[in-house]
């Protein structure tokens, strides 16, 4: 059934039968803690005026780390603007995630370096890019060969709000009709800024897939083990040439939409508190402690957190301001004479201002 929620790690730390070994669980735990640390530090940097804005992913670490770790290096990922935990798992320099929100860049990293596209702010637009990239994989012949080093898939992230965008629905149509190697990973965090999920739909996210002609799966988005297992299976399914899957990771956005949002105007704090008791990191910590992981491990994670904090604080302040010429230089592969004239005029203007601050 599409509306059943797949869970293996319960909120009190009980783990159902799974093939995940303890090293893997510890590694997932570390990634989630680091993703949260990144988020916490970024919020602090915003409060200090170092960032203009930050979209927090608090509470969504299990969905993001589970999915992010399921992707192979050769798979390609299209994020929204909140996939800090996925970026962390893919090896994107966490400092580079800050530039967009500091105003030093509109991107920040090379998508081809870690097969991780730029953040996309226009809701749902990236789902079609993912479709096109998956069409490219098909044309490269890198699907269904059975060669583990060759078969690839696309993992694209979206939120519950994006389900209402026409482009997302077009992406579902295209992916289904062409049976593309693509996994749509929807974090249903139940809030599109102030709009609860009931504004978008009367049925669970995963159920949507059926109408388009592919599989929909619901998973507990606060369960990193389940999120990982479901995504890994869906990616294998896609790489093997069996087509798309829509995963609904059911979770909750515990912070406001961004640091500029005031969620007190549209939702009850008690609901957020309820979800705090379902915290994804806490439940894995309970499990690890109960199954013999010692203080040494947790102390080690804490040390890594401190190191990341330091790196983010220093790195954020050290992000260079872009050159005044950068917009002009990067707009076209080949700059026109007209644009070059505009650039030169602008550079003279800027230089004159620097010579004479009055």
């Amino acid at each position: 059934m599409a509306d059943e929620l797949f869970t293996v790690l319960s909120p009190d730390g009980m783990l159902a039968d799974t093939d995940v070994d303890v090293d893997n669980l510890r590694s997932m735990y570390t990634d989630m803690v680091m993703a949260r640390r990144l988020d916490t530090e970024a919020i602090a940097l915003q409060r200090q005026g170092e960032l203009g804005l930050w979209p927090s992913a608090l509470g969504q670490e299990a969905a993001q780390v589970g999915a992010g770790r399921a992707a192979k290096a050769i798979d390609f990922i299209f994020p929204t603007y909140r996939e800090h935990g996925v970026a962390w798992c893919k090896g994107v320099d966490p400092v580079s995630l800050l530039g967009l929100f500091r105003g030093t860049t509109l991107g920040g990293w090379d998508p081809s370096a870690d097969n991780f596209a730029l953040y996309t702010l226009v809701i749902g637009a990236q789902t079609l890019h993912a479709v096109g990239y998956a069409m490219g994989i098909v044309r490269d012949g890198d699907v269904g060969t059975g060669d583990q080093d060759r078969d690839r898939a696309v993992l694209v992230f979206l939120g519950d709000g994006a389900l209402s965008e026409g482009e997302t629905n077009e992406a579902f149509v295209w992916a289904a009709a062409q049976n593309l190697p693509i996994v749509f990973f929807c974090q249903n965090n139940q809030w599109a800024i102030s709009a609860p999920y009931s504004v978008q739909s009367r049925v669970p996210v995963a159920q949507r897939a059926q109408g388009f002609g592919f599989r929909g799966v619901r998973v507990d988005g606060n369960d990193v083990v389940a999120s990982h297992a479901v995504t890994r299976e869906a990616l294998e399914h896609a790489r093997a040439g069996n087509g798309p899957t829509l995963i609904e990771a059911f979770t909750y956005r515990r912070n406001p939409h961004t640091t500029s949002d005031d969620d007190g105007r549209y939702r009850e704090e008690a609901i957020t508190e309820d979800w705090t008791t379902l915290d994804p990191i806490e439940r894995l910590r309970k499990h690890l402690r109960a199954t013999g992981t010692g203080e040494e491990f947790f102390a080690g994670v804490l040390a890594q957190e401190a190191e990341l904090s330091e790196r983010l604080r220093a790195g954020c302040r050290a992000l260079p301001d872009p050159e005044p010429s950068s917009s002009f230089v990067h707009t076209y592969a080949e700059m026109s004479a007209d644009l070059e004239r505009q650039m030169n005029g602008h550079l003279e203007y800027v230089a004159a201002g620097k010579e004479d601050p009055a």
Binding site: A125, L128, E167, E170, T331
Partner: protein
């Protein structure tokens, strides 16, 4: 042997597909049907359905998937069936395609061509006769070109597909079956340049697409009155080749710009503004625009008078000489 513009486009596409197996075509009804204007006729048969893709009916999907294909190393050429149907794709064109290179600080190149049949004069129904070029020319990150002849169609489509910048390729549907000689071995003028297609000394007439043949008729008619009109085929609507226009107006002292699109904030306004900005004292008369009106495109029974044709452009030429 003379070739129709639609066939020249077909040949141009075929040649770039033969040269580069990363080039692929994507659009509605472009495969078995060959496109509603038959521009892609026979290409799916010869290159297969992975390279000539009959897309689902969704323009955002056509452009959005082309962006993803380009990120995966392909050079997609999209076909939008008619001018009035490009608007569902505008989000992908403006917020994604045009900006991705800039956002990525030059790291991501999106060599996507979007072919759109444009313009009126064919007795079509609503949304099938529009001239949306100003929306694209206003958008940084896009190149906009429009061929005026079979030769230009062949040359410009080949250069557009090879361009590393996104190109909006506006095909004047009124001219699809206009025939002309095509030299396949010529070295065409670069993609961002205008071309003088008829030399003259007394007045500069700038046009593009379907109005270039009309402009040549204007020049012939004016010659009968002893007036020597120079006709510039803009070719590139973004960037605009100022140098060619300025050099001409500096010689002639008079300027008329003609386009089918509505007047306000159109290409004509931009060209006239640039001329008065840079070479004001070369002008012997006000620069004049002859354009479609600031109304939606009319029912086709009215289009003959609504569109700027030979008579309206000649009137503007006459008016210029009253100064």
């Amino acid at each position: 042997m003379s070739t129709a513009m639609a066939h020249a486009l077909n040949e141009g596409l075929r040649s770039v597909m033969e040269e580069d197996n990363k080039v692929l075509l994507i659009g509605e009804d472009i495969g078995r049907l060959g496109g509603v204007f038959r521009v892609t006729d026979g290409l799916q048969k010869d290159f297969g359905d992975l390279r000539v893709v009959d897309s689902p009916l969704g323009e955002a999907g056509i452009v959005g998937s082309a962006i993803g294909l380009a990120m995966a190393g392909y050079r997609p050429v999209c076909e939008i069936q008619f001018d009035g149907f490009v608007f569902p794709a505008m989000n992908q064109i403006i917020t994604q395609l045009a900006k991705y290179r800039h956002r990525s600080e030059g790291r991501v190149t999106l060599p996507v061509v979007i072919r759109i049949p444009v313009g009126g004069g064919i007795g079509a129904i609503e949304h099938h006769s529009e001239s949306p070029e100003a929306y694209f020319a206003h958008t940084a990150g896009l190149r906009v070109v429009s061929p005026s002849s079979a030769q230009e169609a062949y040359d410009l489509i080949r250069m557009s597909v090879r361009s590393d910048d996104p190109v909006i390729f506006l095909e004047p549907k009124h001219s699809y079956w206009l025939k002309g000689d095509v030299d396949r071995s010529s070295s065409p003028a670069p993609i961002g340049t205008a071309k003088i297609v008829h030399s003259g000394d007394d007045l500069t007439l700038v046009a593009y697409g379907a109005l270039v043949p009309t402009a040549l008729k204007v020049a012939a008619a004016a010659a009968e009155d002893g007036r020597s009109v120079e006709v510039i085929d803009l070719r590139s609507l973004s960037p605009i080749d100022d140098a060619t226009i300025f050099a001409s107006v500096e010689r002639t002292g008079r300027l008329v710009v003609a386009h089918e699109a509505s007047q306000t904030a159109g290409l004509g306004a931009e060209i006239v503004a640039r001329v008065q900005d840079e070479i004001f004292y070369s002008l012997e008369a006000p620069a004049i625009r002859v354009t479609g009106y600031d109304t939606p495109y009319p029912p086709s029974r009215l289009e003959g008078d609504w569109l700027p044709g030979l008579d309206r452009i000649l009137d503007a030429v006459d008016r210029s000489f009253t100064y």
